[in-house]
């Protein structure tokens, strides 16, 4: 049987409420048959093949190297292989595909504010996902209480959404 590892995947507030692994492990002999533990056993083999300790981070390092290599390759490929024909549009400031707005002359110019609303909304949804992913991972363990908590979270989140929607934040013009 694989010894239980003290991994806390709940927010800090739950930490004291979660059962200590030591008292949990002998209580559940049935746990060894669960799929999760079979995956665990596989993971153990993997870990033994790699060097002990820090070796488990090797895939992560490889991924970073791969990502950096892909970035450098893609950026260099264009200028090296592609044709370079300049026109006026290409030298203009790039504003996410939007026609560049005239700069304020002395602080009195107007800027299109719709873009900022979109950006703020993106951050709202982004943060919602940031909280929902950890919940999804731990949904079974958190049980009904966790479901209630996350439902409350989404409900309060939608209050802000309703406000934006009713005040015309979603209309582009």
């Amino acid at each position: 049987m694989v010894p239980a590892v003290n991994v806390t995947f709940a927010p800090a507030g739950f930490a004291s409420a979660s059962r200590a692994p030591a008292e949990h492990a002998p209580a559940g002999p049935g746990l060894t048959e669960t799929p999760a533990d079979q995956v665990l056993a596989g993971g153990q083999v993997l870990a033994q093949e790699a060097a002990a300790g820090i070796g488990i981070y090797l895939p992560l390092v490889l991924l970073i190297v791969l990502a950096a290599g892909f970035g450098v390759f893609s950026v260099l490929l264009g200028p090296l292989v592609g044709p370079s024909r300049y026109n006026k549009a290409k030298t203009a400031a790039y504003e996410c595909g939007i026609e560049p707005s005239p700069q304020p002359v002395a602080g009195a110019g107007r800027m299109p504010v719709a873009y900022y609303v979109t950006a703020m909304l993106f951050i709202l949804f982004d943060i919602e996902m940031v909280f929902l992913f950890p919940y999804a991972i731990a949904a079974d363990a958190l049980g009904l209480w966790g479901l209630g908590a996350v439902a409350l979270f989404i409900a309060t989140f939608f209050i802000a959404d309703f406000y934006v929607w009713r005040r015309g934040g979603l209309d582009w013009n």
Binding site: A4, R19, A36, R166
Partner: protein, 523 residues
């Protein structure tokens, strides 16, 4: 074994929640959410009345819930929501103070008769000085979002004073700060000053939050926990690095002292107090001060009592600097709102003396001082909002010359409030200073008390200067008029004056309650 795959099935027990204890906070936050929905779905002309009823009703309901809980509360407080909130006697006292102060502040925010259409513009983002901006000043539209924002800030303050670990404290700090940053920028008159105040407060506030967070990280590195009780345990005798502990404490205190507008971290205070709409200034001056010092009290008492010998010298210096800046620079001010801002910096220094005492008397004295100071300063800002000329509030000192001849009642009320701020007997300010200074004396801080008394005398000079100006100067021919306040502002000022008087004459009741128990140390 691979720790990435080691998450095995494990049931997490739900943290226990004492709903009765946190009900006041839940009501405030719930009402804030309903307030946002009102903004979304209720037609424009009904929003103001709906928001006023909802906001005042929810604060009253929270007060009733608090009263119901207090009568049957456990003696040593209760730690709930996991271990994140500690609802003990100081927290309950501060909750009561915050709720009572916010009733008065919301009444001022709701007033639409002193300034036609209310003190807030409908669209705060319009550039000042433009055609749209001038049209906006004339219209009577109002940003009714200010009500849910005030409720969110109030809820954050309540959570802040009850936070049992630094992370909860940080979240609560942001919840109380972000709405305030916004509310500062909504003033109907002097738009540019108002926007400047909002930006300044936001940038400096973000900076202070970063300090707080950095200190939190260092303390976590020291103690391995963000819980105040765990930090106290770790500091009580280990061979861990003192560098981490004191660097963490220092940075944490910078963040907290900033919110309490304690000098030398006060630089935002005069500008923000001056630029923000006066009802919001009143709300900030009273409630933010209460919340910030509630937090400082809890952090110092619960987590850092054992190391008080090491940090007390530094806090002495901070208190002296704060009193000196407040009293001396207050003398040079020509704008009343700025003058009260410097007075609040001086008061922050006095409050810090009580906070440092770390005794039962120090705790109850500081709590009482917060209650007394909150109501006095709130009513003072209420009075300031009534003296107006064609450009809005006439806050320049020269405009107040000879005001007693034109409006004896208003001058009398303002004189009383200034005397309370100066700490003259028969007002709450005197009792507050007395209990705080006597607590400091019995805790061996006699030199500091002498310095504080000197600065009280210096500060009294600039309060009395305004009194002399109002009573013994000839009024200017083109001077400001005194608006007849609407029911809301009248109620707000009356509440402040009555509490100031009552706490000065019969302080025992509030003092007894403030001294009814210490912080809950559970965790």
């Amino acid at each position: 074994m691979n720790p990435f795959l080691a998450q095995q099935m494990q049931t997490v027990e739900a943290p226990g929640i004492d709903w009765g204890a946190i009900l006041p906070m839940v009501i405030v936050f719930g009402a804030a959410c309903v307030g946002v929905l009102i903004e979304a779905f209720v037609p424009k002309h009904q929003r103001w009345s709906g928001q006023v009823v909802l906001t005042l009703g929810s604060i009253a309901a929270a007060g009733i819930a608090l009263g119901a809980y207090v009568s049957g509360r456990p003696e040593h407080g209760v730690v709930t929501m996991g271990t994140t909130l500690s609802i003990d006697t100081p927290a309950l006292f501060l909750w009561g103070t915050l709720l009572a102060l916010s009733v008065a502040a919301v009444l001022m925010i709701a007033d639409r008769s002193v300034e036609p259409g209310g003190s807030f513009v409908a669209q705060a983002g319009i550039a000042p000085g433009t055609v749209q901006d001038r049209a906006q000043v004339q219209s009577t539209g109002m940003q009714t979002e200010v009500f849910p924002l005030a409720l969110f800030a109030l809820g954050g303050m309540m959570a802040f004073t009850a936070a049992n670990d630094l992370l909860t404290m940080f979240i609560a700090l942001e919840v109380l700060s972000l709405p305030l940053y916004l509310m500062c920028g909504l003033a109907r008159r002097r738009r540019l000053l108002s926007q400047e105040a909002a930006v300044k407060y936001f940038l400096l506030g973000a900076f202070a939050s970063a300090f707080f967070l950095y200190g939190l990280a260092l303390l976590y590195g020291y103690a391995g926990s963000v819980k105040l009780a765990d930090i106290a345990t770790a500091a009580a005798g280990t061979d861990r690095s003192d560098t981490l502990l004191f660097a963490g404490l220092g940075l944490l205190m910078v963040g907290l002292l900033f919110k309490g507008s304690v000098g030398p971290f006060h630089t935002w205070t005069p500008d923000v107090y001056q630029g923000a709409p006066t009802p919001v200034t009143a709300f900030m001056a009273a409630c933010t001060k209460v919340a910030a010092f509630g937090g400082i009290l809890r952090v110092l008492t619960v987590a850092f009592e054992a190391t008080s010998w090491e940090w007390r010298g530094v806090m002495w210096a901070v208190a002296i600097i704060s009193m000196a800046i407040g009293a001396v620079l207050g003398l040079t001010q020509t704008d009343l709102k700025r003058m009260i801002a410097y007075s609040s910096i001086a008061h922050a220094g006095f409050l810090l003396i009580g906070t440092m005492a770390l005794t039962d008397e120090g705790l109850s004295g500081t709590l009482f001082y917060l209650l007394a100071y909150g109501f006095t300063t709130l009513a003072a800002f209420g009075v300031i909002s009534l003296v107006r000329d064609s450009t809005g509030e006439a806050t320049h000192l020269s405009a107040w010359a000879g005001l007693a001849k034109r409006s004896p009642l208003l001058a009398g009320v303002f004189t009383f409030l200034l005397l309370a701020l100066a700490g003259i007997p028969l007002t709450s300010g005197f009792v507050g200073k007395f209990v705080v200074f006597s607590a400091a004396l019995s805790d061996g801080m006699a030199p500091l008390v002498v310095i504080a008394l000197v600065f009280s005398a210096v500060a009294a000079f600039f309060y009395l200067r305004v009194v002399v100006l109002m009573y013994f100067s000839e009024p200017a021919s083109d001077g400001p008029t005194v608006s007849v306040p609407g029911a809301f502002t009248t109620a707000s000022i009356a509440l402040g004056v009555i509490v100031t008087l009552l706490l000065g004459l019969l302080p025992t009741f509030a003092l007894d309650w403030a001294g009814a128990g210490g912080f809950a140390l559970g965790g």
